[in-house]
Amino acid sequence: MAKIIGGVTTSHIPAIANAMANGLEETPYWKPFFDGYPPVRDWLNEQKPDVIILFYNDHGLEFFIDKKPTFAMGVADEYYNSDEGWGIPTIPPVTGESELSWHIANSLVEDGFDMTICQEMKVDHGLTVPLNLMWPGHNYGHVKVIPVCINCEQHPMPQPKRTLALGQAIGRAVESFDDDLKVVVFGTGGMSHQLDGERAGFINRAFDIECLDKLVSDPESLTKYSNYDLVELGGAQAVELNMLIAMRGALLGEVTELHRNYHAPISNTGSGLMLLENK
């Protein structure tokens, strides 16, 4: 039986890719952020998960608003990155896991989540930055990744209540897969930030910390928020919290917080790194 052994929340902003490409991890600006990562890396290297299910949002690489899927997922054996327009380095291919992906797709659609199913899907910084943070030097080729992409760009977008339920449905799907696989779920993006408008630069530290607390102990309570509430409390792009909520949904067991590092700002955002064990 496949088993979800834990979950991780992490930021995925492009500025991290640039900082890593330019070796800025130890500079005063970046150190408090990067110093949070070794315990999570150690845990991953100890646990050796076979598969990472990674919730992210596409920022205009694979998808455009000509056709914008609400929920999309990859079912390929390999994924590619490419030029995103602003010069962050493109990276080697990411390994996929076709069989489990299709199993999840079948299970989700049966469960009422009508996914867009992708056999080719260019993956952007939303997916690649977290992988490189966990396995620096792009050393993640041994891990199989299943990308799950949530629309966080164009309203209407799925609400926290729905993304939590999506995560739970993915949790059930994984648990019903016969092969013995160790799975870790990443919820990437967030936390509070606003890039656009005169309100640009908005960060809400207290709200971010409250969300991290609730993700551990009471994820249901986050479903009281609408996406507009998230915009009000966390800024226009705080809707990316939906990815963290989806991750938490997938952890169906007893959850223990093993590590946390909140730091703000990195670039324009609040960054919440958290490692949760699922037993």
Binding site: F64, I65, E84, W86, H155, P156, G197, E198, I203, S226
Partner: protein, 119 residues
């Protein structure tokens, strides 16, 4: 739940159906900046490139003025506008400063202050 709710947030332009329709040509142009050839073509003749994507006069002017707020009001989506910003070699703090009327240093200082939770 607030899916169909009309709610306004000061200094915030929610990218919804109305904006997505209005900004379609503008966003499509900025989406094209994923490709180097497109960026080169824009740089060679911005005006002609805007026409290729049938930008409205207001959108063209906003592109010319690098006026991010005007681009948002014209239906620009931040993820595609970010590619335009990248083409101009501006980062998110530069963009933040442009939108808030602060200097880049002032904007960065505000981020630090927000990050510490000093509201």
């Amino acid at each position: 739940m607030a899916t169909n709710e009309k709610r306004e947030f000061p200094g915030t332009y929610l990218f919804n159906g109305e904006m997505a329709k209005k900004g379609y040509g503008l966003n499509k142009m900025c989406f094209s900046f994923n490709n180097q050839e497109a960026r080169d073509e824009f740089n060679a003749d911005p005006e002609a490139y805007c026409d290729k994507y049938k930008l409205t006069d207001v959108q063209k002017q906003a592109i010319k003025d690098k006026d991010i707020i005007a681009l948002l009001k014209e239906g620009g989506s931040i993820y595609y506008l970010a590619k335009f910003a990248g083409l101009l070699k501006l980062n998110m703090q530069d963009i933040g400063a442009l939108q808030t009327g602060m200097s880049v240093d002032e904007f960065k200082a505000m981020l630090e202050k927000n990050g510490r939770g000093e509201v």
